[in-house]
Symmetry: C2
Subunit: 651 residues, 2 copies
């Protein structure tokens, strides 16, 4: 294609984007305008700010060669250490640091990060290219294998550059990122040279860059990357050796996709980017595809913990309804990706069902990736363990630690949104926020004991009296564990929380899962919401054979598990019969303060002779899934048998 043609196409794209209407309904309030005061989350954010970031810095800078790679690349000497995508861990650590610095300023950490950024910038080639693996191995091979994560690393560089600029006002990393983005734009889109990203990420990053710079070429480039997929352009190990383009969602064009396939994190990042593009361009080809894919994920592939990606073999999706517990992969990063994608889907639709899933993945699947001490990490998050599985200090492929760190540090992003007609409350997290609604400032204060208690107090303080809607998410889990029929509560019930405004019952409409409170709001108005909190017994769709005859427990948004008590019982041998009375008790000194579920259960034990077994009723306690494996490596399971159908010995 000639250059004229290319420019015309680019212009046409921009014009057509302009001529379309934005699909975005909700605008999330940035975490930088939200101060977390929450009893559940604030300690976790503090732990991330200290222990988790310490671990990330220490492993990035001292215990591995990730920073040395940049030093060597700047000098064009020395060997590349580690794996070809390791640059991304540096960028993700910087992004997490940037978010955390906003909440917890730390001049030493910032100074150290500035030094990293100097080294990163020094390694950039004159033409804008930046990837220590190719600079230190054979630069002539750059952009030859689409699976080698060059654009993935660029994406994380962009996210880090924006985050660091937003917190510190320092632009060096962002400029480096922009130069790399411009290099990529000139090498690929402007020459229309095919390039299928082997690990999606750059699309969502370019959309952040577009919003930050308002330069439409980044929007055009993000869209161009999306449209590259599914045409057989792929070249590299995924395509030529594995021959499985579905692994990276490249089997068919994104807009034609209807089912979830392949690598879970790749999928989440792809659809997050596609949602970001659709939000601006109004291209409902993407939303149509994603509606179907989302249903496929939630109706057939979702763990009750909000984890996704059942298989280790492809770090991704398996067959529908095939959800093994002991070998559940449920990568921490995939749950983080679920938070990203579901936020975007909510932003496009204004539908609370996406926040229901976001909340489930956040409080369970993602949070499980981080130890209570903040310095140990799960890469995979199985729903059952024989007792030999525990969190690690670090990983060869170290995507998860900085990913959970950046999620928790920027938790404020997921609580509030605005729309043309009002405010939206998505998560119940104690916080003070300042929100701009049609150019007028509204202060909000939320107080709650969630997820342990159901009471939420919300003070609305607009600068001036103002009529608008307050949309409060009514948790979907009150009546259904998740949309679709993958899971259901053992006993159905219809629960509707009570809402008071200034002490008076307020009758509300329920629209797309939100209670809509329309009135003129003034300073000092107090909304109280009482979410009924009960223990829920969950059953699986019979198609999930792994959960046949089993029950999982949930309280509020928290999924529970039983950890073994070495003298008392193995978690695998605890029966939870129908109708067992379950007592909920908050235990402030246990596992950082949790609601514990207590019940008496038949427990099967091996007699001392080793030749016989017996069943006794014993007191058993279930703890939040995210908190397991913080008292040593114990056996654990989420899905408890409700009756004994089969016994296996020594298996």
């Amino acid at each position: 294609m000639k250059r004229e043609g290319i420019i015309m196409m680019a212009m046409l794209f921009i014009l057509s984007a302009k001529s379309q209407t934005s699909l975005q309904k909700l605008y999330p309030v940035s975490f930088s305008n939200v101060k977390i005061t929450d009893a559940f989350w604030k300690p976790k954010m503090q732990t991330v700010a200290s222990a988790t970031l310490d671990a990330c810095v220490n492993y990035t800078q001292n215990k591995t060669g990730r920073i040395r790679n940049f030093e060597n690349a700047a000098k064009h000497t020395g060997k590349h250490e580690g794996i070809y995508y390791d640059d991304s861990d540096v960028y993700k650590a910087i992004e997490a640091i940037a978010y955390s610095l906003k909440n917890y300023p730390d001049s030493e950490l910032e100074k150290n990060t500035d030094q990293w950024i100097e080294k990163i910038a020094a390694a950039q080639l004159p033409d804008g290219y930046l990837n220590t693996y190719y600079i230190l191995t054979d630069i002539n091979k750059r952009w030859s294998d689409m699976e080698k994560h060059e654009d993935y690393c660029a994406g994380h560089l962009i996210e880090a550059g924006i985050a660091y600029y937003n917190t510190t006002g320092k632009g060096k990393l962002l400029n480096t990122a922009i130069r790399f983005a411009d290099h990529i734009d000139s090498v690929f889109r402007l020459q229309n040279k095919p390039w299928v990203s082997g690990h999606q990420e750059i699309e969502l990053a370019l959309m952040k860059l577009y919003h930050h710079t308002q330069n439409k070429k980044y929007l055009a480039l993000a869209n161009w990357f999306l449209e590259q997929r599914g045409h057989g352009y792929g070249k590299g190990v995924i395509w030529n050796q594995w021959k499985n383009p579905d692994y990276c969602q490249d089997g068919i064009p994104v807009k034609d996709q209807r089912n979830i396939t392949g690598h879970a994190v790749r999928a989440m990042y792809l659809y997050t980017g596609a949602a970001d593009v659709a939000a601006v361009t109004g291209d409902n080809g993407y939303t149509t595809a994603m509606d179907a894919i989302w249903n496929d994920v939630v109706y057939r592939h979702l763990y009750i913990t909000g984890g996704i990606g059942a298989q280790g073999s492809n770090e991704g999706f398996g067959k529908p309804y095939d959800l093994p517990n002991g070998t559940a992969y449920c990568e921490t990063c995939a749950s983080v990706g679920m938070v990203f994608w579901n936020q975007r889907m909510n932003m496009l639709s204004g539908d609370a069902k996406y926040i229901d899933i976001l909340e489930r993945s956040l409080y369970n699947g993602a949070l499980d990736g981080l130890s209570l001490s903040g310095d140990r990490f799960f890469y995979g998050n199985p729903l059952s363990s024989g007792g030999n599985y525990s969190r690690s200090e670090w990983f060869g492929t170290a995507c998860c630690p900085s990913n959970i760190a950046r999620l928790v540090s920027a938790l404020g992003n997921y609580i509030y949104s605005t729309s043309a007609d009002g405010l939206w409350i998505n998560l119940f997290v104690g916080s003070n926020a300042t929100v701009a609604l049609n150019n007028e400032k509204i202060n909000m204060t939320m107080e709650t004991g969630y997820p342990w208690k159901g009471k939420v107090k919300l003070e609305i303080a607009p600068d001036k009296k103002k009529y608008f809607d307050v949309h409060i998410r009514i948790p979907g889990w009150l009546n259904h564990p998740v949309p679709g029929d993958l899971y259901r509560y053992e006993s159905s019930n219809t629960e509707k929380p009570e809402i008071h405004v200034n002490g008076q019952p307020f009758s509300y409409k329920l629209v797309n899962g939100y209670a809509v409170l329309s009135r003129t709001w003034k300073k000092g108005d107090l909304i109280t919401l009482e979410i009924p909190m009960k223990v829920k017994r969950i059953k699986s769709n019979p198609a999930v054979r792994q959960n046949e005859g089993r029950v999982a427990l949930q309280y509020g948004p928290i999924v529970y598990c039983v950890e073994g008590e070495s003298k008392e019982y193995n978690s695998k041998n605890v029966i939870l019969p129908p109708g067992a009375a379950i007592e909920v008790k908050y235990e402030p000194s246990l596992l950082g303060g949790i609601n514990v579920l207590h019940f008496n259960a038949p427990v099967v034990t091996i007699n001392e002779d080793g030749l016989s077994v017996s069943t006794t009723n014993r007191p058993v306690s279930a703890i939040p899934y995210y908190s397991w494996n913080n008292r040593g490596s114990r056996d654990m399971q989420v899905w408890l048998p409700s009756q004994i159908r089969q016994i296996r010995i020594n298996e």
Copy 2:
């Protein structure tokens, strides 16, 4: 390479072959000189002759398109039905029919087979090529993907041609096979055009053709095929897409191989062919390799049933000592291949250890592939089942039915051998045999109740008085389950059978596992052998984690299993404590007549409430592994826990 060079190379090869000494020590007596009278085997051979061959004929000719493919190929019209290697099933069925006709003449079956052969011959192309898949799809693509089994099918055609000629004297199929072999020789070896067989088989077949025709070019071609491997010549799906030449033992040259890899049947056929070549050429490069590989198989990869190939994913070998029971693949064809290969290794070495393995694979792993009714087949033979696994009438890939049929029909091949200095008795199977020893005829009659009883009577009747050695295999299983330390008996013992000649105790040397009886033999001499038969409790090497704390039972060469009794116990919940008294009882009306092992065992059962379990002592019976799944689909296991270490509920 020029034609002169090729001819010179071929001549050099033949010369060098001539200058080497044959490595062959033993010469198996052909089944055509052995009449089986055995109470164990004769009924099985009759069942194969009727029910099994009926099934093979019916599925080959009527229920699938295997014969139609030849009809269509002859007319060069119509679609190819089935899979590209389906021709081989027709050839293997003919081979099995040929062996069976020798024992059980059946003019109708022979006439039908003659009609098949007409169709096969009619489909052959003028240049000798014969493969219905390529003839009916795109003949220009023949010989383009080494994995497409063209040479594999040719190998089975050769085996069938020889077998059918030997039984019937009819040469049409053999001539067809020879024309195809000559085509292959001219296309590949004579042009030195690389070709790595994607599924080995042709090597052993060409060696049969060499012995049948005494034409050295087939020996040269067999050797050429062996030497093609391991040089990176491979082209086709295994090499270009899977990128795993080890799958078909093509990672390194055969003579450099020391460990077993890849697909089990391919490996067995390869090493059978290599042994056949080495036997003639004296090339100890192959024997050195195979000694090491055999040790790897037997010391680290062998199931107690003699089955091999732990994994379904590659139909082959997994990691050393990784021998899962429930998912054990143990393809029937791989056990058949173990019989072939171990016969050859015994033939080269005169060592009884190979027959020990042959016997184990034959009576357990291979025989399990065939139902007692003869018309149901296992493709894989796991050592434990939850009760949902049963034999099938047929398979899409139908290699196993005709393979077990041809093995059982030609069982006579494995009983007797000769060497320069005498006779060798390998298996204990009631039979009359006529053996030529240095051009003198010896009649032999064996009577035995083996494998249920240990007494063997052997009458030796040479035409003239003659001094020679009679080598009688002393079963290795008397003192060790198998060579190496993969398995051991729980209590060690040293047992030596008594041998009498004409009623007098005969003191014998033990050489390579054989009792050597040297004397002048005359008509009417009677050898009696009393093999001590006891129940053996087998333990695994602790490296086999799947068998930790478990015991298997063996009586004679027969490995046992427990099948569930629905009202009494699930086989998975039977404990076999140390020292449990086990009674052996022959039950003539059960499962075709078997020794049953009876014992009292603690059995874990689920109480009626479904919420508790208990242990009671119950009478349990174990049956021969090969006979399981002949009373409906029951749960089964071979390795019984000797104490309870762990319980799993509903898993």
